[in-house]
Symmetry: D2
Subunit: 281 residues, 4 copies
């Protein structure tokens, strides 16, 4: 599928959302954007821009000339960190891509401790200054490549435990997308259990049955899934909300939905996570 089918063509596609989001915390997401895709060449490609998505001619070109069975896109509204390519999602490590819609509260206070908890051999890979990139590298530290759900439960658990120590409330808002090109994990979570919206499209045959006349939906195939912060168009029955504190795993065959329960029992000492709960250290 050409990337533009989802980014540009739908009425409330991501590029429209960059200009006026209807459900987001920020109505304008004009502080850069990113696209990561699997296609030609080795591993995922990544395109990061610092201009608003709505005005970037190159994004429009790429979206209409790149086909991909799996891609992640992100529009950014900064919570204070610099508008620069190294702060744009998706972040990449090997064949993995990661996007984060949300925020770590009080990140400036915790940045040093959280970066120290990143595996030393990964430290130099943190190129930007966002909370999201540090969260990704914490998850990599805790074994994202072996067990994405377990690793993110520890990574977010560590953020929450560190926040408690600092007296920071509601530590994290985290709608997350993670993929290795084969499967995609979509997390909806927040410390306060009032998470930002996250939707997944219904199965293709259900969609076709609901809207037999709709041309756009006809090219939707059996295993296709779209995960979005807000629906791309107002079509009754097409969008299922992912529940609070849940991870959806989109994969070949039946998808899977599980509770997502961050936790961290290790000691937090001298800026280094220790203990049996962090298997990869």
């Amino acid at each position: 599928m050409l990337v533009e089918e989802l980014l540009f063509k739908p009425k409330h596609g991501l590029v429209d959302q960059s200009l006026h989001s209807r459900m987001g915390v920020e109505t304008t997401n004009g502080d850069g954007f990113g696209l990561g895709w699997y296609g030609q060449g080795g591993g995922p490609g990544v395109y990061h821009g610092v201009a608003p998505a709505w005005g970037d001619d190159n994004l429009r070109e790429l979206a209409s000339h790149i086909e991909s069975p799996m891609f992640l896109a992100h529009v950014r509204a900064t919570t204070g960190t610099a508008i620069q390519q190294t702060n744009c999602h998706p972040f990449r490590h090997g064949k993995w891509l990661f996007v984060h819609n949300g925020v770590v509260q009080g990140f400036d206070l915790m940045r040093r401790e959280l970066m120290l908890a990143v595996a030393p051999e990964l430290f130099a890979n943190v190129k930007g200054s966002t909370d999201s990139e540090v969260l990704f590298h914490l998850a990599l530290t805790f074994g994202l490549e072996r067990d994405p759900v377990g690793a993110l439960e520890l990574a977010i658990g560590l953020v929450e435990a560190t926040a408690v120590k600092h007296g920071i409330e509601n530590a994290i808002q985290a709608s997350l997308g993670v993929t290795d090109g084969e499967r995609m994990w979509a997390f909806r979570y927040s410390t306060e259990h009032k998470s930002r919206t996250l939707f997944v499209s219904a199965e293709a045959d259900a969609v076709h049955a609901l809207y037999p006349e709709n041309e756009n939906l006809r090219r939707f195939r059996d295993e296709d899934r779209i995960v979005v912060s807000e629906p791309l168009a107002d079509l009754e029955g097409v969008w299922h909300e992912i529940p609070e504190s849940t991870v959806l795993i989109v994969q070949p065959g039946a998808d899977e939905q599980r509770p997502f329960r961050p936790h961290y029992e290790g000691a937090i000492a001298n800026g280094s996570p220790v203990g049996s709960s962090s298997p990869s250290l």
Copy 2:
């Protein structure tokens, strides 16, 4: 006065308007911005950026380190032309600066004819692709430097006459700011006589009398005037709306307000304006 006093500090200052305008046709003005000022060095300085004003660190730096008795600032919402510095206002010619909030309808259809009407010796100075820059060079062609009001009456009159020929309705929306560093001309005009808002601040002593306790307003001096598309803060009595089809001339001594009546009686032939109504050709 430091430029930031008007751009960044007021609650609804221009930078806030770039993110969410309350009265503008576009709620987001994130397609670049510009600042022109008179201060150190010869002639006005100009800073043009293609990023949204709200996220440009350099603009913040300049605004807090440049003092100027006269400056123009502009945030842009493109009506289709490229987001590039040569399309950012203010446009400059010698000591003159020009900003335009508005649009020329059907400009693509008329672009060739209007550019041909620009004086040949000015043609190569048109560096960008906006309607606004062409309008400025038409005004220069018609004698802006001698008689700004007369020149803009002819320039806009020519645009309107050309539009009529093409069957284009409501040819122009034009809130304009023009200055030579000494005086400023603020025009509120549209072909349909439903012009975008334009306000001027009251005289300093009136402002002081209305708000004797207000610290921010105290540094406002006798000859200071602020002209804005929408008020910088909600203060009863401080902002006077400039009437429809009117030009306000802010100058040393008493300001002046006059009707603004575009007209064009010259022939429009072979793309070249001719006849006695265009005194500078």
Copy 3:
């Protein structure tokens, strides 16, 4: 072939040339770049950047994730016009792409006349301010899509005739690349007949015979051709210089090489080319 095979991997690939050209008039070509390719999606895709090619992470990503049987790339050293995407090559019209390495002397003096000679219906497509984009639109005006060689002979002929009128010597330097995705026309020409270098790679079997051990050259196939301003690597016998005042047509089957003889016999009056030599007007 992945685009990076030619842009990044060769020792003196185009990205290396952006930093230190060995044969170019300018040693640094850091004023933007562009890539146009035929692949997925309809028509050619275009990526334009204003940063130096050597430092653009997105270009590296695209080059390693886009495959194309036909592409054009260009690094720019401005001769004075703005560094902005609309001034970056390749320029595109429908399925056609166009790059120009060279300059039109005295373009500022001739810009108005040359733009007037562009077909009125194409005028609004000229988005930037370069000599190259105007040259492309002149060629389109003269029938580039039917007869590229004939159209460019007229377009360059018109430029030269206009220059003579203005007393401008050595009107044009023009190494040009034009393609419709199937065939590519490579022109080497200059008014003074001292044109910038232009090379084409030898036929694949000749290349393989010369360097039987060279891994990089082995993937080179029968119909593959590379046209470059300067050789990508120092390999004796691999690069043939395209002669002065010549157009090379790279196409399925045998390539073709022809003399290129710009001429313009039409009247140049009122800014409009007229006469039987411009068949498309």
Copy 4:
């Protein structure tokens, strides 16, 4: 003095050096630039650009419209870190500015340790990913604001000691400029004692005596000093080389020149500098 007098007007001014440096390790310094100055408004202003200095219209505008008795400018050739504003010099802390021409070898290997040695309360101020910004924050940690020479001796000493631990040779090349707006410290140092060039202009009366006819030099006043990596013009007697391993202090009254001897005796343990040699911890 207008900033352009030094940046743009001299034959080999900094902007010319960005395109072709004659003495630098890199001949092209096109990976961004920065200007920091003391003038209107509180504290120093900073302008950072990611485009090459030679092509940035805004830099030209600012240089011709900002006057300053003290400023620092820098053109960048990245040694691998991202081209982004947060990586551009000068770095700023309160009223202090800092520029670094040079490199920390093996910085990726040491980045974590060196960042841990930054005072925790300063950690979140490190916004970019360069060696230079970390070096500046180490110097701030060691008391730059009280004793610039002592603090940089410790900061560089720590870098060198850390490098020894990692088996990295020739740890640092560091031509440094530091100022608080009143005085400027210019350091020429490298671990291998083969430092990049650094020059200071002679005293004004010596300059005037040498070149009584030179108009440009006449406006040079008694206390004016220019410190540069390479001379701005070829004028015999005007430029004095700052010796190896030396700091020059430009200040009101007589300037001062002292040996510069980095050292670090503290323990390097758990990534934290400890011991009596780091007075500010």
